[in-house]
Homo-oligomer: 131 residues x 2
């Protein structure tokens, strides 16, 4: 079900660079050649080519020959794995935050009651649940 974690690594890694994100945004407007993609950036062609390789290995884009050019386009399902991970995480996140909120407001109450620093006497419910 979960794709190979490496793919997730690569996808997130690929997205961690502003140039690569810009390339993706540009590609969302439609396929483009390497040269077209490179133009807006103040960077050598080989540098762009490397970025494309990173995106390609992350399965976010595809490059195919067309005459002497190479046409780059988004890989249809490319974003899915990463997006899926994030959405799942976000669900847990919110859930966790809800739990935490109860806990925080309790602490805040204690703080505003003038217990100075640390006042951390919350029942340390060490939950061990596995999901």
């Amino acid at each position: 079900m979960d794709p190979s974690p490496q793919l997730l690594d690569r996808a997130f890694f690929a997205l961690a660079d502003p140039t690569r994100r810009a390339i993706i945004e540009r590609l969302a407007e439609g396929p483009a050649t390497v040269g077209e993609l490179a133009r807006p950036f103040d960077m050598s062609l080989p540098a762009i080519s490397k970025h494309l390789t990173v995106l390609e290995r992350a399965r976010l884009i595809r490059r195919e020959r067309e005459a002497q050019r190479r046409l780059c386009s988004l890989e249809p399902e490319g974003l899915r794995p990463a997006l899926h991970w994030m959405e799942r995480a976000e669900a847990f996140w919110t859930e966790s935050l809800d739990r935490l909120t109860g806990y925080l407001s309790q602490e805040q109450e204690e703080l505003s009651h003038g217990t100075g620093r640390n006042a951390r006497k919350k029942p340390k419910g060490r939950r061990k649940g596995k999901v």
Copy 2:
């Protein structure tokens, strides 16, 4: 509106590591100390501490002193910027893919109708590359 791109860089970068993702997943079950977070990993404590620093600089988690321990918890809005970027990208993505699909089927139709209006160079050379 868009958060500083650096934050996006850091968030995606932080998520690009399986250890860090695992830490986040674990943290989604509730706050934990550094030691607790470290236990499941076959890695030194300082290494985990560094990962936590990365997550913290990406605003994905928070660390706060509690006696001599440090309690780590998810940062409430942490995932938002990255998630938002991805969702926006995904929208364009699909849109782009739709356009592309339409274009392709249109071309195919024209081909089968034999109308010479396809200003396209030539059909794809069946390239035998690796996939």
